[in-house]
Amino acid sequence: MPIEPNPPAPATEREREAVDRAIAGLGVEPRRSDLLPLLHALQDELGWLPRGALHHLADRMNLPFPDVWGVATFYALLRLDPPHGTILHVCDDVPCRLRGADTLVHDLEARYGPPRRFAGEAHGAVRSGEGGAASRAPVDWETVPCLGRCEEAPVAVAGGRELGRVTADGIAAALRHSGGDA
């Protein structure tokens, strides 16, 4: 019987609570200008931005879902699918390249498979690992534009830790430290 509209991806209890808690944290009714801070808060708690959470957030903020989605897909730091391992950002921008980032990226590819790309660039709308290796690897890594620490190039951020003058071995050590089994 086709009269019920297809419900959008429903939020899990945990996602719903995360949204409600983030909004409660504002102390006031959410306004549109709270959107980016709320997306940050959700990602900090859930590790990424599940569809259901975004739908619930849109409802709570009285915003059209496509608008929320449009914003979420605009920003490279916002993740629209779950990380499959410890998150590693490796700068391969000009100053880091000049200081060996190209070799570093090459080494990391050999260890962890190809990097994933930011959702905003991909027509498929969802960030995706490019190969089977990437989806199985315990490290979810991507190359990123300049991180603004060029005096210590090459640099990376592994599991939230900023690493300067870094090597593939150094990254592996840092990942072990932050729980990634590398």
Partner: protein, 279 residues
């Protein structure tokens, strides 16, 4: 209030609040436009209508910049021509222009050669979204003029079923998480279809007829009439081919509709030709 401006060395009078484009058109001049629509807020993203304004470092979009007293404008300098030509070439090199006569005409007018970027130039590569019975979305033809977003949103419908997602060359029009239209907020007014300049949004009937090679504008005539549904009195243009209504539009300059219709007015005509063809 009247304002004196100068265009290509010629003194013109414009009204306060007018855009440069409006002033040009009133004086019988023009600039190519794609994202501009008289009933939508100018978003000035296609940049095909740029002109030179004395004192401005960059070229300015004539569709949105308002005239100012004493403004000196040039519409036909080498800079303007080069910018327009390249912009049109860039667009035409990135999408399927087979149902975009306006764009093709502009490219031709500026002697553009979209092929010169090489056969490996990346194009917008999107599958046809044929997910409902009223209209299709072929984003491989989309030039991201934002008109559909505007018509769906604040400029007409307030439905907000569409927004731009992603960014850069991968920016695209979306229902949110690429939901099929029937799962989106869409109310199927088709006002996005009406403002689409490239045929990326197309009524299903027209799409099917084109696929079957049956769509033939040379065999079509347009009859103006009034919508048979509610009491608003929306002006309709019935596109008729072989004694069948094949498409419904509304004139953009009609006071009642400004080109917009609702789902019934735009799509609710098929009872006229029930198949089999007897009532």
């Amino acid at each position: 209030m009247s304002i004196g401006i100068e265009v290509d060395g010629r003194a013109l009078e414009a009204d306060e609040g007018m855009t440069i484009l409006q002033a040009l058109r009133r004086a019988g001049m023009d600039a190519p436009t794609l994202c501009y629509h008289p009933n939508l807020t100018p978003v000035n993203v296609c940049r095909a209508c740029v002109v030179e304004v004395e004192g401005s470092r960059a070229l300015v979009p004539s569709c949105s910049r308002r005239v100012e007293p004493g403004m000196r404008i040039r519409t036909d300098t080498g800079r303007v021509r080069r910018a327009r030509k390249v912009v049109l070439e860039l667009l035409a090199s990135s999408v399927d222009t087979s149902t975009a006569p306006e764009l093709a005409a502009h490219v031709a007018a500026y002697q553009g050669d979209p092929a010169r970027f090489g056969s490996d130039a990346v194009r917008v590569d999107e599958p046809l979204r044929d997910d409902n019975d009223l209209y299709v979305r072929d984003y491989a033809k989309c030039i991201l003029c934002y008109k559909c977003v505007e018509a769906c949103g604040e400029d007409a419908q307030y439905t907000f079923a569409l927004a731009v997602a992603g960014r850069g060359f991968a920016a695209r029009i979306e229902t949110g998480a690429d939901a099929p239209l029937l799962e989106s907020r869409c109310v199927f007014c088709g006002n996005c279809v009406a403002v689409c300049p490239t045929g990326a949004l197309m009524p299903l009937i027209e799409h099917r007829m084109r696929q079957a090679g049956e769509w033939d504008p040379s065999r079509q005539h347009v009859a103006e009439t009034i919508c048979p549904y509610c009491g608003v009195g929306c002006a309709l243009e019935l596109h008729v081919q072989d004694n069948r209504i094949v498409k419904v539009t509304s004139p953009a300059d009609h006071d009642v509709t400004r080109g917009h219709l609702c789902v019934k007015g735009r799509f609710g005509f098929t009872y006229v030709h029930p198949d089999p063809p007897s009532r």
